[in-house]
């Protein structure tokens, strides 16, 4: 028997424990809400975690893990954790929790079937996840700072324009009088 089919059999219990471990990272007062409110729109955080970990798990069990796809699923969870009260390590530790859950839930079967090597392979897949996650987390944090910078820039853009500090653009353009350039520049600015 393969490890992955064992994990597939135990999917629901593994996901449940994994979900609980993710939630344990939140303050106790918040856990009950994220856990109990079932409406996707009334509890987007809880819903994102539930949906996210299941999809990630499915992806891990797939024959070949697609980094793009799994990255998207990781993103849904990490994007939220990146703006919550977590240090970077805390924000991403939930990925490693899966190792613990798998070992605890499937250890007997793994030993019985001599699947330790498969386990190592599976765990290194989880390590891959963590590497992808670092990138995602950093992107999220960079985005936050970018937004802050953008807001500061947006609020001074017209000032710069008025103070004729837009020479940089005018130099680039073929026709300094063409206001359209400002449009284009502004379009870039809003992106």
């Amino acid at each position: 028997m393969e490890l992955k089919s064992i994990l597939l059999q135990k999917k629901s219990v593994i996901l449940k424990r994994w979900f609980d471990m993710v939630l344990e990272t939140y303050p106790a007062d918040s856990v009950s809400f994220f856990k109990n409110q079932k409406d996707k729109f009334a509890n987007p955080v809880g819903a994102a975690i539930v949906e996210g970990i299941e999809k990630i798990f499915n992806e891990l069990l797939a024959r070949e893990m697609n980094p793009g796809t799994v990255g998207m699923f990781l993103d849904n969870i990490i994007r939220i954790r990146a703006v919550q009260d977590f240090t970077p390590a805390e924000a991403l530790a939930f990925i490693f929790s899966l190792k613990k859950v798998v070992r605890e839930e499937a250890w007997a079967e793994i030993q019985a079937n001599g699947l330790t090597e498969e386990l190592f392979a599976f765990e290194s897949q989880i390590d891959d996840l963590s590497l992808i996650s670092f990138n995602i987390y950093m992107k999220c944090r960079e985005k936050i700072y970018e937004i802050k910078a953008n807001e500061a820039r947006d609020s001074t853009f017209r000032l710069l324009q008025r103070a004729n500090l837009m020479t940089e653009i005018q130099e680039q353009g073929p026709d300094p009088e063409d206001v359209k350039l400002i449009n284009i520049k502004r379009k870039e600015a809003t992106k």
């Binding site: 344990e24 987007p44 490693f96 008025r162 063409d178 502004r186």
Partner: protein, 541 residues
């Protein structure tokens, strides 16, 4: 590194709070990213707010005035006798919990003190201690507690984590409105100079210079000139608005941020194009150059002081009535406060559309018409030539602003305007729109940048609904009729649903509007090529 590295699950449990204590015994911990900087002395001095000094919430000492407890208790007493809402809402809550999961901040943070009921209890517990018999007699047993510095800091932290969006009040069986409680809470904090600078700055600006951004008259005019150039480039039509013109029929008032920051600027261009096309006899004012009112996020009195300019200017210029631009809290105030503060506006006439002859019956006392109402009436009467296909590159949804939805009921007019201005329109899920709309997450002056984490978390419910329609229908444009929304949803979308842009409704109107004598448009206002005109882009660059 000598220190032992913690194991992952140890790490992840650092924030895990062991069995919880009663909320009253858990002082608020001010977390970075969740609060704004304290108000600077110079800004408080401009409007004469008490205890003006430079201070930092992060520091232990908040430089409170002597005997501040007395000031607060007196303040509570005073407000209890002035506001039935306040007195009633301090008493009638049964803590049924219906409001608990209705708050976007609670949904996004999970912090129990962000449940509307608990936010109000922060103040109620003190009210009970000093103003009710059971509270005086039994203290903690009756849910009462002393007013201490910890309590005060907790108030400050959580009353500046409420955007007064009123969503909870929709679900409360007694109509308890946390906005009222937060307003009172913030008034009390203001008695001690405990405001945030993101609010105090605009208030000072608006008081002295007429608008939140502090744009001086000549700056407003030159700002506008850039729009006129842009419009000229786009359409070949020369628009010539007037400023402070006596004898105009209509005064137009809108939030100043739309004159300054994208994407609100496009909405402002939309107004300019529309009014020009109609040949409307209207004027802008540099004195009443702010529709919004950050004063209401400090105290009722300050709000009244700032909103004074609108009627005063209408009177000075001798206009017949006023049209107000797309703004959220501005319209809560126009609808529910303005006439009471500064009316009767008997120096004006009951508003009648000069184009359609429609009487705006619902504005006959304030003499102030919402631009969306004005435009909806034009469209209904066939007075506008609109080409919705010019917005065919957009797949549009509409976000109801809290204030126009729950403090006014302006729900179907904007949808009518939108559906006539674009071809692709999809609503977000039912429990996230109309009177159940979710706040953008940064209202009531919380749209600073130092509290970005709070904003992003508060924005989750709205963003989640947008994401849903984005994935389901390919929605790429989130429209709204609120200047704060335009500024803050942009950031929120940037983070949560990066493929969705934000626009005011009149931007879409401006794009769709077929103007007399215009040249063939190849792009929209943002310089995006119009559908079917993509090839032309290269020529212009």
């Amino acid at each position: 590194m000598a220190t032992k590295l913690p194991k992952p699950d140890e790490l992840s449990r650092i924030d895990y709070t062991p069995p919880k204590k009663c909320w009253m015994d858990t002082p608020a911990e001010l977390k970075p990213g969740m609060y704004c900087w304290g108000a600077k002395a110079k800004n408080l001095n401009v409007v004469g707010f008490p205890n003006a000094r430079d201070w930092s919430p992060a520091e232990e000492d908040w430089k409170l005035p002597k005997e501040w407890e007395g000031t607060v208790l007196e303040g509570i007493h005073d407000r209890l006798s002035k506001y039935r809402s306040f007195r009633l809402f301090m008493d009638v809550c049964v803590r049924c919990g219906a409001c608990a999961d209705k708050c976007h901040f609670y949904i996004g943070t999970g912090d129990p003190k962000n449940m509307p009921v608990l936010r109000a209890e922060l103040l109620r517990s003190v009210y009970r201690k000093y103003f009710t018999v059971p509270g005086k007699l039994f203290g903690g047993l009756a849910g009462a507690r002393e007013l201490t510095t910890e309590v005060l800091k907790e108030w400050w932290y959580y009353f500046f984590q409420c955007t007064e969006c009123r969503r909870c009040s929709v679900f409360c069986p007694y109509g308890i409105d946390t906005a009222e409680v937060t307003m009172m809470g913030r008034e009390l904090l203001n008695l001690l100079g405990l405001n945030i600078d993101w609010i105090a700055g605009p208030v000072a600006n608006c008081y002295k210079k007429g608008n939140h951004l502090g744009l001086e008259p000549h700056t407003i005019k030159s700002s506008m000139e850039f729009f006129l150039d842009d419009i000229d480039t786009l359409t070949g039509v020369k628009v010539e608005p007037t400023f402070n013109r006596k004898g105009a029929e209509i005064l137009f008032v809108t939030p100043s941020v739309d004159l300054f920051a994208d994407p609100g600027t496009y909405t402002a261009m939309g107004y300019l194009m529309l009014f020009h096309e109609l040949g409307l006899d209207y004027t802008w004012s540099t004195y009443a150059s702010e529709g919004g009112n950050f004063g209401v996020f400090t105290s009722n009195e300050m709000a009244k002081r700032l909103h004074y300019k609108i009627y005063a200017e209408a009177k000075r210029l001798g206009v017949k009535y006023i049209i107000g631009g797309e703004c959220g809290h501005m319209w809560r105030l126009v609808n529910q406060y303005l006439d009471t503060w500064h009316g009767p506006a008997d120096f004006m006439e009951e508003p009648v559309s000069p184009i359609t002859g429609t009487k705006f019956e619902n504005a006959k006392s304030t003499k102030m018409v919402h631009v969306i109402e004005f435009t909806a009436d034009l469209i209904k009467n066939g007075k506008l030539k609109l080409d919705p296909t010019r917005n065919d590159h957009l797949n549009v949804t509409y976000h109801d602003s809290c204030n126009t939805a729950r403090g006014m009921g302006l729900l179907d007019e904007p949808r009518y305007v939108l559906k006539n201005s674009c071809s692709n329109f999809h609503e977000m899920p039912e429990n996230t729109i109309r009177e159940q709309t979710f706040c953008c997450g940064s209202g009531t002056g919380l749209n600073a940048s130092e509290n970005m984490e709070l904003r992003m978390r508060g924005g989750i419910p709205r963003a989640n609904a947008v994401k849903h329609v984005h994935e389901k229908y390919g929605v790429n444009m989130l429209t709204n009729i609120c200047a704060i929304d335009r500024a803050t949803l942009k950031a929120s979308m940037d983070y949560w649903v990066p493929d969705v842009s934000v626009a005011g409704v009149h931007e879409l109107v401006g794009n769709a509007l077929i103007m007399t004598g215009e040249k063939e448009r190849t792009t929209d206002m943002r310089g995006e090529p119009l559908p079917g005109k993509e090839g032309d882009e290269n020529e212009t660059v």
